[in-house]
């Protein structure tokens, strides 16, 4: 089994600490979901894992070999990221076919036939300039590059941004089909959590430049739950635990509790325990500062 290991990753942009001492292990053969608020550091982390950008400090390795400026390691990774429609000197004059030709040169396992099929599936005109594409169409191009790269570790940064529901459904189906066939590793960063949650075997939550959790999605769903009952009972339950989103109305209180791995929650009969969806967990964990 191959693994990408990031150790002690820090990334500073002038006065901003985009990533703070991040440790992360990515195992092969899984679909990871990466979720976090805007500016949490998801794209920065993916770009460092794929050696597209340098970390201020820390090390990324793939099967023990460092990734930075290592062709052998980088050839195993594809991070298909957002395509800019403008450059500092005007519109981006590249066409879709230019991106596909470039990808054919760059990725050692590039599947030209598959890319051609995907262009037809998404009804794209390869002769069209990327500066003339809608947000959804740009996402389609990044999806095509990611899937046709056939890279062992494939990262997609908000691949469904701007896609309509039909195209999103198409993408999820394509992704699953590809995964069944190749069993390669995907990391998908997304804001449309509810839709994609079922795809994620593991979920990585990035919060304020740190990894809040990286664990099996079912395990995460099992250990984060909402408890509601009298204020005294809920206070007793949250004491000494990691908890979020505490709300109180009169003497009724509710809170989201994060249990320790393997821990079983023993609650009085008067306390209601409600399982949460991945989106609700995300809201509880990352939405606090907004509510405060």
């Amino acid at each position: 089994m191959s693994t990408i290991i990031a150790k002690g990753i820090n990334k500073k942009y002038k006065d901003t600490n985009a990533l703070k001492d991040v440790d992360l292990t990515v195992e092969s053969g899984k679909i990871y979901g990466m979720i976090g608020r805007n500016g949490a550091g998801k794209t920065t982390l993916l770009s460092i894992l794929s050696a597209q950008n340098p970390a201020t400090s820390g090390l990324v390795t793939i099967d023990g070999e460092k990734v930075w400026e290592n062709q052998k390691a980088i050839d195993r990774i594809c991070f298909s990221r957002e395509i800019a429609t403008t450059t500092p000197f005007g519109p981006n004059t590249y066409k879709i076919k230019d991106y596909l030709k470039a990808a054919e040169i760059f990725y050692p396992n590039w599947d030209k036939e598959y890319a051609k099929n995907l262009v037809e599936t998404f009804k794209l005109n390869p002769r069209k300039k990327v500066s003339k594409l809608s947000k959804g169409m740009l996402s389609m191009v990044t999806i095509i590059i990611a899937l046709a790269s056939r890279a062992e570790f494939t990262f997609l940064d908000e691949p469904v941004a701007g896609l309509d529901i039909v195209a999103r459904d198409q993408f999820y189906k394509l992704l699953l089909k590809d995964y069944e066939e190749t069993h390669r590793t995907f990391i998908i960063s997304t804001h449309i959590i509810e839709e994609a949650a079922n795809l994620f075997e593991d979920t990585i939550i990035v919060k304020n430049g740190e990894i809040y959790t990286n664990e099996n999605t079912q395990q995460l769903l099992a250990r984060v739950q909402m408890v509601s009952g009298s204020a005294e009972e809920v206070d007793a339950l949250i004491a000494g635990r990691d908890y979020h989103r505490v709300e109180q109305l009169g003497n009724t209180k509710r809170a989201t509790i994060v249990m320790r791995p393997g821990e079983e929650l023993k609650v009085p009969e008067t306390v209601t325990v409600t399982p949460l969806s991945l989106q609700e967990i995300f809201l509880a964990v990352c939405g606090e500062e907004v509510e405060q």
Partner: protein, 209 residues
């Protein structure tokens, strides 16, 4: 490195086409503007080499800025090592300068203009200087943004105006008055200094898209 060179080879086709079509367009422009019995009009076939050199120099000046604005990020995000991006950029520049010099030499030979090794080295030196200047401008533009770009446009405008003035006065051959011994080392020096800065800049480049 091979992947990087293959990418640049595709990109350079546009530059070669620009050089050829641009010089033909200049030739036609002068052919329309100056009658056959004028000094410029009568000497137009000899001037075609100078047009090739001018367009080639402009292409070399502007090419790295193009690279900075779109090629480098695309290459790095496609998994090309930064050191290979840098090396292939420089090799491409040198190959383009050599190719341009060869084309100019062939044109000289075809139209019957005397060619000396000194002249060829001078042309190569001029083109390498243009490439080096292009590297410097790209690094400065990347560092300081649009104002630097505007300065670049102004410099090109002034240079273009000067070239136009010289050619109108029939003195476009002023370039040849430089001794090869000066221009070639200048070209190499400018290219070497600019390469040092370009390398540093590429190694620290933040890929954003």
């Amino acid at each position: 490195m091979i992947k990087a060179m293959r990418f640049f080879e595709r990109e350079e086709r546009v530059n070669v086409l620009t050089m050829v079509l641009g010089s033909i367009a200049m030739y036609l422009y002068f052919w329309i503007l100056f009658p056959q019995d004028s000094i410029v009009g009568g000497n137009l076939h000899n001037m075609y080499s100078a047009f090739l050199m001018m367009i080639g120099a402009i292409v070399m000046l502007s090419d790295v800025i193009q690279s900075y604005s779109r090629r480098y990020c695309l290459m790095i995000s496609g998994g090309i090592l930064r050191k290979h991006v840098f090396a292939s950029q420089v090799v491409t520049q040198i190959l383009f300068a050599i190719f341009n010099t060869l084309v100019i030499t062939v044109v000289y030979l075809v139209v019957g203009t005397p060619v000396t090794p000194g002249k060829i080295i001078t042309i190569l030196g001029l083109l390498l200087t243009a490439g080096g200047m292009g590297n410097l401008l790209a690094v400065v533009t990347d560092r300081f943004g649009r104002p630097a770009y505007i300065v670049f446009i102004l410099i090109c405008g002034v240079l273009g105006g000067m070239m136009g003035g010289f050619s109108a006065a029939g003195e476009l051959k002023w370039v040849m008055h430089f001794e090869a011994i000066y221009l070639f080392p200048i070209g190499i020096a400018v290219l070497a200094i600019s390469c040092f800065l370009l390398h540093r800049s590429i190694m620290n480049l933040e890929v954003r898209s």
